[in-house]
């Protein structure tokens, strides 16, 4: 049973370096995101009691090294790595450090460049084995072909989700993929086929970037708010796999889909909210079949009803429950370590009503979901309260 966080926790600052494909230095991007978050919070680094740095490709404890640029204050610095969910886990660690009373202010920072990494699906110089074949594109493509078989989902539905996220990113200056025109379903379908039925415009944008968030107690948040609405973290849940029928132990990029349903269920219980209370959602949309399945696993609609949500436009900006409002992994980008923190960045802006052209009207409650290879699932729920 999910219990309430022992102390109330609030997001007091966020920062982000634009996601990109320019092979910029990760340390420099991390510095930009971290300093922005400190400025946004209105504090200096000496007020931070603990730092959780997330990176997949930075190397051994690179997160600890990067912290030195912010100041040698002697605080505990922890390097976090949990595949695509790295940034979400770093944020979760910061939340629990404050909730558990370890510190009053904690910072989570993610930085990476996916283009510089080896890892999943890349055999490198190793002796060839069949376990090496499962590129994420292939793994999620098999989710897609099975869904097409079971539910009758069409490639056009997958393309519609991807086009939606490309178009959301047009209003996000920090997104990696910013089309200069309205992206159409036909355009997505016509891009290069990479793993049937997925085309290149359906695949997440792998690149570089950095993002940061600072969390604190209610007392600190109120002291710093200056009348700005507060953003409270009402749920922070993380799970690993449980056994399911058809469990794949070798080569599965992420574990059973049930993991998302279980993690979200615990998050809803912890926050005392349900799917109908959500105003916006960010998910691990590495491929559009994921976003489609997560509509159902997060309880936004019933099983097999996700296609109808797409057809109705319910999950686009202006719809009933917008998903991936900043472009998602599809178009905002997926550098690795910072991806989950970019979701926190976006949701915080939305709940403060500072998201500009992509603002969800009257947004009060947002959910952030990430899945990571290995595998793990992380769900956070953030809610607006008046300062």
């Amino acid at each position: 049973m999910a219990t309430k966080l022992a102390r109330d926790v609030y997001v007091i600052g966020v920062g982000m370096h634009r996601f990109n494909n320019e092979r910029l230095a990760s340390a420099a991007m991390a510095d930009v995101a971290g300093m922005q978050a400190l400025d946004d919070a209105g504090i200096g680094f000496p007020e931070v009691g603990a730092l959780y740095n997330g990176s997949l490709g930075g190397g051994l404890t690179s997160g600890v090294g990067i912290a030195k640029e912010f100041g040698l204050t002697g605080i505990p610095v922890t390097h976090v790595e949990n595949a695509s969910a790295t940034g979400s886990c770093a944020f979760g660690e910061a939340v629990h450090a404050v909730a558990g009373g370890r510190v009053d202010v904690a910072m989570a920072l993610g930085f990476d460049d996916m283009n510089r990494m080896g890892g999943l699906g890349r055999s490198g110089g190793r002796r060839m084995g069949a376990e090496d074949v499962m590129l994420p594109a292939a793994f999620f493509a098999m989710w897609a072909t099975r869904r097409m078989h079971d539910v009758g989902t069409t490639a056009e539905t997958f393309a519609a989700i991807a086009a939606k996220n490309w178009n959301h990113a047009r209003a996000n200056p920090l997104a990696q993929r910013r089309a200069d025109h309205e992206v159409t379903i036909d355009e997505v379908l016509g891009s290069t086929m990479i793993s049937y039925p997925h085309t290149s415009m359906m695949a997440c944008a792998a690149g570089g970037g950095a993002a940061a968030a600072i969390v604190a107690t209610r007392e600190v948040a109120e002291r710093l708010s200056s009348g700005r609405p507060l953003v409270r973290v009402t749920a922070s849940q993380q799970r690993s796999e449980t056994y399911t029928d058809g469990h794949v132990f070798l080569g599965a990029v992420i574990g059973p889909a049930q993991m998302t349903r279980d993690t979200a269920g615990e998050a809803y219980e912890q926050a005392s909210v349900g799917p109908d209370d959500l105003d916006l959602v960010q998910v691990h949309d590495a491929f559009p079949v994921e976003e489609l399945v997560y509509y159902e696993l997060l309880g936004i609609c019933g099983d097999g009803e996700g296609d109808r949500l797409v057809a109705e436009g319910a999950t686009r900006l202006g719809g009933r429950i917008p998903f991936s409002t900043d472009g998602g992994l599809t178009a905002r980008g997926h550098p690795g370590g910072p991806t989950g923190l970019a979701q926190i960045h976006e949701t915080t802006l939305q709940l403060r009503h500072e998201a500009g052209a992509r603002q969800v009207q009257r947004a009060r409650t947002g959910l952030c979901h990430m899945a990571g290879a290995g595998s793990v699932c992380v769900v956070h729920i953030l809610q607006r309260t008046e300062g």
């Binding site: 499962m134 292939a138 493509a141 078989h149 990479i194 793993s195 794949v248 070798l250």
Partner: protein, 139 residues
């Protein structure tokens, strides 16, 4: 004299022996839960009880598949086909296996029978043929 075939990873599968026509994946069976697993486990992940080594059935049914438009898989080139298939195959023991597929997209139908086979991926330092496993449609 024909070169000796050697599995790339003898912890995962073995070659056909005696009258067998297909190789075998090497799995585990947990008597208490009556669950089977692949690859082998140290103990049952559900009941934490002991497991025994078993050879799994060499045939199953296709659960899902895709064709990956990538010309190489590790050291193997697929330049002639432009890529390769991968699938998830459900074995009768309740084990789902991910593996490359032999054939073309016309050969793969969800729910159709598939059989385990091997294919060469190179040679080891002793000159033996290294083989790994994949599934093919059973006709």
């Amino acid at each position: 004299m024909a070169a000796i075939q050697v599995p790339t990873d003898p912890r995962l599968f073995r070659l056909a022996e005696g009258d067998e026509t297909r190789p075998r994946l090497l799995g585990s069976h947990a008597p208490e839960s009556d669950l089977y697993f692949w690859p082998r486990r140290l103990r049952c992940p559900v009941t934490r009880t002991p497991v025994t080594d078993v050879d799994l059935s060499p045939e199953g049914v296709l659960y899902a598949w895709t064709f990956l438009y990538v010309p190489r898989m590790g050291s193997i080139s697929f330049g002639d086909t432009g890529g390769y298939g991968v699938g998830q195959i459900d074995l009768p023991e309740g084990v789902r296996v991910q593996a490359p597929l032999l054939g073309t997209t016309d050969d793969w139908q969800i729910g159709s029978p598939m059989g385990l086979t091997t294919f060469p991926v190179g040679r080891d330092d002793d000159g033996n043929d290294l083989v790994t496993f994949r599934f093919e449609a059973v006709r």
